[in-house]
Amino acid sequence: MLHYIIRRVLWMIPTMLGILLIILGLLHAAPGDPAMQILGIGGGGGGEMTQDGADIEARLAKFKRDNALDRNFLVQYLGFLGPFNVKPDGHELFGGDGRNPWGGFLVLDFGTELFDKNKQIGDEIRHRLVEVTLPLALMSTFLIYMIAIPIGIFSANRAGSRLDKLLTLLLFILYSVPVFWAGLMLILAFGKGGLGWLPVIGLHSRGADELEPWPYFVDMAQHFILPVIVTTYGGLAYISRQMRSGMIEVVHQDYIRTAKAKGLGSRAIILKHALRNSLIPVITIFASILPIMIGGSVVIEVVFDLPGMGKYMYEGLLTRDFNVIMATMTLLGAMTLLGILLSDIAYAIVDPRISYS
């Protein structure tokens, strides 16, 4: 078992290197000079270049030099990976002046924002993850399981009935609702324009800082309701489908027939015998759901204007902030990798039929 875990962890290293390679490679492969995109100059506007063309050229060159964008691909790759800093103030090995030799993801240094050198990306991400994105994802995951498992069991018990068909169809339709549209429709329905029941924008109401702890919490909880619903419904539909099919499969097993034959009540059969075994695949999805949710948080946080990590990445995309994008994407990749590892290990622990070799 330990062997298996160690091997899996070791496999993560090349995979992580590959992830970084793909992100950076894609950014470089995109037609158009990233530096020009970042500075908002654009490749096509030749006519505007004439007047202060030299100025723009100089700005571009300085910008590229300062952010090591003029280095070749491998050096840039190393710069993001670490442990060396390859910028002008970086390690002497890469032509820097040695003031700031170490950097990169390996030493957990995500650098600073391109346009605000005082803002550490690492701090910003930690704040946003802990305060918005993770609570949102955890709450939704909890809700998904709380609702999806009973629905799945219920559906499987009545497989083929009209109610089951209706439920399946409803969940199927729910699964197809675009996330951003669901958010917008909820805002329309519950926001000021509609019923006016819930706040729809941001994390706190205006002036919430002066509230007592309890009202402050209630205010925040109210702001969280709609985003949690939107984060939940898709996964809910998916997991309950899994649960239903898993349950149906288990119910047809021999040992369930044995349990029936010896006269156990259907309740006992389901809860004691069938449920445990059908839960295995559903539970092991858990670890991989979390990164998916964090990845999907971009849209939700933009729609509801929540200051989370997804929003951070989106803002990075709008301002073409190379560093923010690299940091958030790499983190997401790492989280996904970790999630897959955890779910594989969980599977291996729970199901003794899985071999570790």
Partner: protein, 614 residues
Amino acid sequence: MTKVMDGEPAAESAPTTGPRGATYSKDYWDLVFDQLGRNRLFKLAAVVLTLLYASAIYAPLIANDRPYVLEAANYAEYNKAWRTLYPASLGLGSVAKKTPEEYLAGRTEGSDLSYAQALENERMAVETQLATMKLYLAAERAAALDALLGDVEELVALAAGTAEARSDEDLERIKEQHGAIKDQAKAVRAEYEARDPEAEAPEAATEPEGATESVGLELQGIRSYPMFESIAAWESFFMLLWLALMSWPLWNRFWNRALLGGDRERIRRARRQKLAATLAFSLLGALLWGQFVGGSSSLNLAPYKQALTEGEIVETQALFPPVPYGFAEAHSTELYRPPTWTSESEIDEEGYYARGPRRAEPDAVTGFMPSANPVVVRFGESERNAASRHWMGTDSSGRDFLTRMLWGGRISLSVGLVSAFLLVIIGTIIGAVAGYFGGWIDLLISRFIEVVLCLPALLLIMMAAAFVDPNLIPPIFSIVILIALIRWTGVARLVRGEFLRLREAEFTLASQALGFSSARTIFLHILPNAMAPVLVAGAFAVAAGILTESTLSFLGLGIQEPMPSWGSLINDSKSSEHWWIQVFPGFLIFVTITCYNQVGDALRDALDPKMKKH
């Protein structure tokens, strides 16, 4: 679409055709289509998708600012020609009366025209005016103009013929001829004045012709087909193709019964012929269309529609599509106007909203009333407050939203389809190579797929899309390419799995033993047997593609103005005041995705041999 292949109609007739029907056994595709035909939800989804695609393909016929048929007389153009005719005839005379030497001495500085050329120019000037006038005149009136033209040509011939050596007699004849022309031109000027279009326009329809005669001539309209002229050959290809597909149940039944006698074997063999016939029909039609009708409209719409509105051009017949707006046609006085069937959308004559949140009220303190722009109703459009004016409201530039949605469907739906097609091809090839050859190639590809799968595809596409220079590659292409480049991994894994299974199969071994090349074995023998799961994945990929494009465009990273796509339309306003902007396109996205998922689900059930219920 549901009966796309020869499923049910012939199955019903099978018992009546006697012994042949009885010996018939169903092949794989018969079973698949039987299964699909029994799935009611699939049928519904297929019908909805067919209609959605129809609305996108036929968008130019449904929503367009060009009329189907327009019969109109351009009074401004006629009047200009009518006014210019007499001066032009004088100009001709002044050149004709001169000898070449006199002309060369007197010609304007910088002009390098020879005498013959100048003469020809003057003749052309007169002829152009006459031709323009003849366009709008009845045949019996044209006779006088023809006579004038004949005289003019005579004069030119005379002047040119005697240019080298001109006697006094010749000059006399020229003067005489020119005098006749001048008289005729004067007469035309007196008799051929058109009626004043602006003054008479409202009455023109009701007054009998005799009444208007006294004021001026009633011009004849010219008939044109501006919309059909604007439809390009490729558009007509898809229109014909879709027509053939939608009418499939009809002509398929005829083909099966009348031509094939209801014989299952022959029907089965005719599948490819039917497909080929459909394609050939559309292609041929499109070629003919491109050759003789479409894609050649030089009509400039903006001034033309304004001239019609202002009465410079007067129509005698105009037939507009149900939604008479262009997809980029802005109405600057109707920004963010709610759907016109709602009460909040009512606008009074001055341009103020009568009720609802936009109702204008004087400022509480100063009593200042915000200024308003009266609604401009252009030619062919519905009345100011008619429900049909803007069924689905307008956007930030006052463009009709229904029109935008119809045209946006073209982009949204095709992005989904094309990206799915591309990613299936990429995934199939890579998966086939990995599964067939195995070994280190397989290891490399599998590892790569694993790595790509670790990253959320949507974010990866977003990231790359943000850094593609839209000046180098239009966003619509870059999105399609990016989706295909990043999402092929799922299909590749599927195909790889199938190939791992099938490469040990007997038919593969047989193919290898016969010495066929790897490519032949892969593409002709294994692939057809591995396509079923790929088809299912393809259907889901279309849904995912549409969702990706709309999400991207919604976030402002996809399709850019003025191109409409359903996602970018929602991006137009996130304010809950403008609910129509968020509800309608989003609903279309949702319906499309649901339908494609349903189709994928049904296909999976139908294609899976284990699920066959017999």
